[in-house]
């Protein structure tokens, strides 16, 4: 059903500068990035706040003109064929634009009208989508009564009203509680199974690992790495990480004692991370040095560590 060789989004040298053209004080949010998204893929853009993720998303959604480079979506040019592209996109923005004066179902209906879809089609689709997003019971309620997770699911239902080929999700689970996040992931996974191409930005590692077939890591407007989650972890980290926490007064002395015990060491505000191929061995070495952490945890390396290695910063900074 899906032809994985078809490139649906093709960005080359993509650049976004805010401010007037030629203005030297302009702010470069996206600085010449290249990437391709293929049909049926779940593609992630991982990065800290301000890395250029949302600017990239807005350009792909054709609501933000490209400053330089080329951006082709579904075979069309984003600059000249915006309306035609948007007709086949589903957009889940970071700030949801749900109409709080309408009911849940009315939000779907009226949004569908923007696509020129007939009422009959919309009535059928909205019932189906409310079921898909587990909102059927809330169909005739005011939007104001929805929880954060329900609102986000409504935004997703709305984004699917035109049966889009690509769904853009800008930080879909930011601000949601764990239960709401898991339900959302499960629904997004289902969409992926149905062959919908997903493009999502996130600053949550677990989200990227759960959902993305392939991802790029962005930092300061540039792509610093690209690959599957497993590839990135293998390429940029050692197998395990030893996390140590210290009593406030002892941090510096203890940290100094740990130097040289692991191939790579990252100091975070609240803990010390030692990258190693064998966490237990490193922990023994730490103890032999007379280091007495409050807590010690050995875990497998994750995308968080990839990000730390690549940027020297934690994602949630």
């Amino acid at each position: 059903m899906t032809d994985s060789s078809t490139v649906l989004i093709d960005a080359r040298g993509l650049k976004k500068v805010y401010g007037r053209p030629g203005d030297k004080a302009g702010f470069t949010a996206v600085d010449g990035i290249d990437f391709q998204v293929r049909r049926g893929e779940a593609f992630g853009v991982l990065g800290a706040n301000g890395a250029g993720k949302s600017s990239t998303m807005r350009m792909i959604a054709c609501v933000s003109p490209v400053t330089a480079g080329s951006l082709r979506i579904l075979g069309y040019d984003s600059g000249t064929d915006g309306a035609r592209i948007r007709a086949r996109l589903g957009v889940v923005p970071q700030d949801d634009t749900i109409d709080t004066e309408l009911t849940v179902r009315e939000n779907l209906l009226i949004y569908g009208r923007y696509f020129g879809l007939p009422w009959k089609v919309l009535r059928e689709r909205s019932s189906r989508l409310l079921e898909f997003t587990r909102l059927s019971e809330k169909a005739d309620d005011a939007v104001a009564t929805l929880s954060g997770g329900m609102r986000r699911r409504l935004t997703i239902a709305r984004a699917l009203i035109n049966e889009p080929e690509i769904v853009l999700l800008d930080e879909p689970t930011t601000g949601l509680d764990p239960q709401a996040r898991h339900l959302l992931w499960e629904r997004l996974f289902q969409l992926k199974q149905d062959g919908v191409t997903l493009l999502l930005t996130t600053h949550y590692m677990d989200e990227a690992e759960q959902l993305c077939d392939r991802l790029v890591v962005m930092d300061a407007g540039k792509i610093v790495a690209e690959g599957t989650p497993a590839e990135l972890i293998a390429r940029y980290t050692l197998r395990e990480v030893l996390e140590l926490r210290f009593a406030p007064g002892e941090r510096q002395t203890m940290t100094d004692k740990c130097r040289g015990l692991a191939e790579r060491m990252e100091e975070l505000p609240d803990r010390l991370l030692l990258s190693t191929d064998n966490g237990e061995e490193t922990l023994s070495a730490v103890h032999r040095q007379g280091v007495q952490p409050l807590t010690a945890l050995v875990r497998r390396s994750s995308l968080e560590d990839v990000f730390l290695t690549l940027t020297g910063r934690s994602l949630l900074d």
Binding site: V63, A83, R86, P93, T97, D99, I110
Partner: protein, 264 residues
Amino acid sequence: MDTLARAFSAPAFRELGYWLFRYRRTWRGSIVISIGNPLLFLTALGLGLGTLVDREDSAYLHGHSYLTFILPGILIAGVMQTAFLEASGPVMQSALPRGSYRAAASTPLEPTGILYGHLMYWTLRATQNAVLFVCVSMFFGTVDPARAPLLVLIAVLVAVAFAAPAAAWAVTVSRPSQINAMFRFVVLPLYMFSGTFFPIEQLPVPLQWVAWATPLWHGVDLGRTVALGTATPYGVLVHIGYLSVMVVAGLYVARRTYRRKLYV
């Protein structure tokens, strides 16, 4: 039929559809206001103030009763005020990051379609207000039924002439206080000093010049001269020309400000 169906599925009509869909919730209240408003004015200014004014013949009123004189003024000034209010606050709100314009902009609609759709809505609302106002006035015998349709057309022209520039400006605004300031320092003085309640010939000459330059005076004078049967072809042309320039200039600027705001 097919062409008609296609025309109505044009992007601007989809945006109009959104506003009409929302209007379903408030239309009853809005009709009560549209009828109540002229009733209040007619009672207070006709039976109240008018009785006082009409006690002595004023040359400025050219033999008309005060009520007959101010009625077109109140209609036009009221339409202007409503047009400003509907094209400022809601436009600002809609253009905010969570606003309805943002939702529409992520669909095939372009900023121009969004603008035209919303403008059609204001036009319909102004038509509704003007028709009801004129009907109430005819009931009181203060408007000649033969001239009533013309008065409605003029009111709608004035509404668009104010809504277009108001929207062009409001889409760039991000704080409600700016809209309040504009209302207090521009719209209300216009309402008071554009000949709505008194002939501007009563003002000192320098102020008369100011009044002639203001857009609302052109609307009020056009409405009043047509309603009282004193219109001259030259006056009508100047007034319609002035208001049309406002429509065209307002739309010209609004198309740009909408695009700049929605496509960052």
